[in-house]
């Protein structure tokens, strides 16, 4: 596809039957069917596979994202080549160079360094290899991304409606808890979504922000103090990630304020939904929990969402410039539908 969005295709062997994707779009190179039964060779450069690193302000690890690609690839005509960007822009560029050297058919780039992404976009363009960006834009590449604003709104709306239905005659305040010092745009969007939705349902509600500086356990001290000062009020807690939601619940239990609080988390990582036998917070048998639910981001299913897009691009089908995650609230009522627990055997 050319810069103006029109499409030209140069068919240079099976792996280069598409031209580079340039322009916001749309990856819709003219359809050239694969000429052989060989699988597409797709490189996936993961954000960070350090087991201690959590991705995008949520409770997921790089290993979970990678595993989702491995599992999704089982029934697709693809051969995957994996890279770990290790949260490092230079490493990401080096990985892209390696993918070029290996003449992959397409690169899926998950990298949060904007400058590095610009460089990767240029290099892949020169090499004639299309790119599909994950969560962070790469110039000229279609993007698959979380919609943090929408996810925040789901949490805010859930909490607001809970308060309206259950505490209509009470004074209600709200807390947003999480890594608020982090300037990443995704966190700002999440906070904005929560705030907007809360105020839409409860126009007069006061919203207090508790910054954990990225350490969820810190919410316990911060929330403990806050609760002590709010003795006659009901408190809605919007946590920016699940570990913070769980730590907040502990703080509320310690303060003896279970009856005065409700929590919604973000992410739905394993720490909160666990499995049938692990008896985690979101569990069909735990419907009375003050953790009303958590908004799903499905990082552990990215492979299932992203690989079909990549294949569409390689088949010359049109894909949108931006595809967003379909976030929903996961609660005790639907957790086993959304996340069938393997360990229920």
């Amino acid at each position: 596809m050319n810069l103006d969005g029109t499409a030209t295709a140069s068919l240079v062997g099976r792996r280069q039957f598409l031209t580079v994707l340039v322009g916001a779009a749309l990856a819709a190179a003219p359809a050239h069917a694969r000429e052989s039964s060989e699988p597409f060779r797709i490189a996936f450069a993961n954000l960070n596979e350090d087991p201690t690193a959590h991705l995008d302000g949520l409770g997921f690890t790089g290993a979970e994202v990678r595993r989702s690609f491995e599992l999704a690839a089982r029934t697709l005509p693809v051969e995957l080549i994996y890279y770990d960007n290790a949260g490092d822009g230079e490493k990401a560029v080096a990985n892209a160079d390696d993918a070029i050297a290996r003449k992959v058919d397409l690169l899926i780039e998950y990298n949060d360094d904007i400058e590095a992404n610009a460089e990767i976009g240029r290099r892949m363009h020169r090499a004639g290899i299309p790119v599909l960006a994950l969560n962070y834009p790469v110039p000229g590449a279609p993007l698959y991304a979380a919609d943090n604003l929408a996810a925040g709104r789901i949490a805010g709306k859930t909490l607001g409606e809970f308060a309206r239905e259950n505490w209509a005659d009470q004074t209600v305040v709200a807390v947003i808890a999480g890594d608020l010092g982090n300037t990443a745009p995704y966190l700002a969007d999440r906070v904005q979504g929560i705030t907007e939705a809360l105020q839409q349902v409860l126009p007069d509600i006061a919203v207090t922000r508790l910054d954990t500086s990225g350490n969820p356990v810190r919410v316990q001290g911060l929330l403990g103090k806050f609760l002590a000062a709010q003795t006659r009020r009901k408190v809605l807690v919007a946590a920016l990630d699940d570990p913070t939601a769980l730590a907040a619940k502990e703080a509320i239990e310690r303060a003896g304020r279970i009856g005065d609080c409700a929590i919604v988390g973000q992410g739905v990582d394993r720490s909160i939904h666990g499995g049938a036998s692990e008896k985690k917070e979101l569990d069909p048998s735990n419907r009375s929990s003050i953790v009303l639910g958590s908004v799903a981001y499905y990082l552990d299913r990215y492979g299932y969402e992203v690989l079909p897009l990549a294949i569409k691009m390689l088949q010359g089908a049109e894909v949108p410039a931006k595809t967003t995650t379909k976030h929903i609230l996961i609660s005790a009522r639907n957790v086993f539908i959304e996340y069938p627990p393997y360990d229920m055997n």
């Binding site: 491995e70 599992l71 999704a72 089982r74 029934t75 499995g275 049938a276 036998s277 692990e278 008896k279 069909p284 048998s285 419907r287 299913r301 299932y304 086993f336 959304e338 069938p340 627990p341 393997y342 360990d343 229920m344 055997n345």
Partner: protein, 340 residues
């Protein structure tokens, strides 16, 4: 599969929300959710109806040398189980202490109590184990037939017999021969990795290895090598439970089309975990148990019979397996052996 706790949990929630009346459980139109039994509307037996005297007689011809190969793991505290599952053996009564003996011949005795769920160790899934909503095998609306203690329909007491021919399919060899074996580093002998999908083509390739054609009434066992992790208990319990290689949905349908009576494997669910479709829970269980009345046996020790098949070039045997006439149970731990 040990869905007992989940079923209990869900049942409890439903019962609690309805004021304790089990009969008040919501009922679905089971005719749209589950296939009808080919053995009639009152059938509670399922596929073991296919084990006719002729099938048993033909299976008996498999006994040629008399060699017996074990196919069950020892049932002992510490084998892979999931968080809330347990096994606990307690020696509850003994008369070894002086003065406690009986009679002038000083007879002594011992007894024990075994506490566990029925779906532990090498175990068989009964037809009351898996359904879609409240619909179980033969379009049975199970909400009407559940008591606090047991099932009033589809209990394992209705199983006819497993005196039939067994067939071992060595998927490790199939994948090795095809050059596509992706092993798991935790296995100390060759194994298919967790998440590996076994297709009907793989099954057919495994049958071809030893020139076997499946016939109605057969019991089929899959050697994936994953059972090696079970044998390493407790060291690899978490790895064993985390995923597994297993049947695809289409492979499950293909086995059902062959009219087999049992599908077993050296894994904890027989089917591939995670499932091919991320939004489906245990779809092969539904195909085999709920739609076709085919029993599933999990945690089968298949490595010994696979090795035997490799050395003798015989992958068929007479299956020695019986289950207790335990009324209303959804499953039971079992012992099974291959006799050749």
């Amino acid at each position: 599969m040990k869905l007992v706790a989940l079923v209990a949990t869900v049942a409890f929630s439903v019962v609690a929300s309805l004021g304790g009346t089990v009969a008040a459980m919501a009922q679905s139109d089971c005719k749209t959710l589950v296939k009808a039994s080919p053995f009639g509307p009152d059938d509670e037996t399922g596929a073991t109806n296919r084990v006719t005297p002729a099938v048993t007689k033909a299976a008996a011809a498999e006994i040629q040398t008399g060699k017996v190969t074990p196919m069950a793991f020892n049932l002992v505290d510490g084998v892979p189980l999931f968080g809330t599952r347990f096994t606990k053996t307690v020696l509850t009564s003994f008369a070894l202490v002086p003065g406690a003996e009986y009679g002038k011949n000083k007879l002594s005795y011992m007894e024990d109590t075994y506490l566990s769920q029925s779906h532990v160790g090498t175990h068989l899934d009964g037809l009351g184990h898996i359904g879609i909503k409240d619909c179980y095998y033969n379009q049975t609306p199970m909400g009407k037939y559940v008591t606090q203690n047991y099932l009033k329909k589809l209990g394992i007491e209705h199983i006819k017999t497993f005196a039939t021919r067994g067939v071992i399919i060595d998927l490790v060899k199939v994948f090795q021969d095809a050059g596509k074996l992706k092993a798991n580093a935790a296995c100390t002998s060759p194994c298919l990795d967790g998440g590996t999908v076994i297709t009907e083509a793989d099954l057919q390739a495994g049958l071809k290895l030893y020139n076997v054609t499946l016939r109605e009434g057969d019991a089929v066992f899959l050697n994936t090598g994953w059972g090696n992790l079970f044998q390493q208990f407790p060291k690899q319990n978490a790895a064993y439970n985390s995923s597994e290689p297993g049947l695809s949905k289409s492979a499950g349908e293909w086995l059902a089309d062959q009219k087999v009576v049992v599908v077993g494997a050296d894994t904890w669910a027989v089917e591939v975990i995670p499932s091919e479709d991320k939004e489906e829970a245990f779809p092969v269980h539904k195909i085999l148990l709920t739609d076709n009345g085919i029993h599933i046996i999990e945690n089968v020790r298949t490595d010994l019979i696979a090795a035997e098949a490799a050395s003798t070039k015989r992958a068929t045997f007479f299956l020695s397996l019986t289950v207790p006439k335990a009324v209303g149970l959804t499953g039971t731990f079992v012992n099974l052996e291959a006799i050749q």
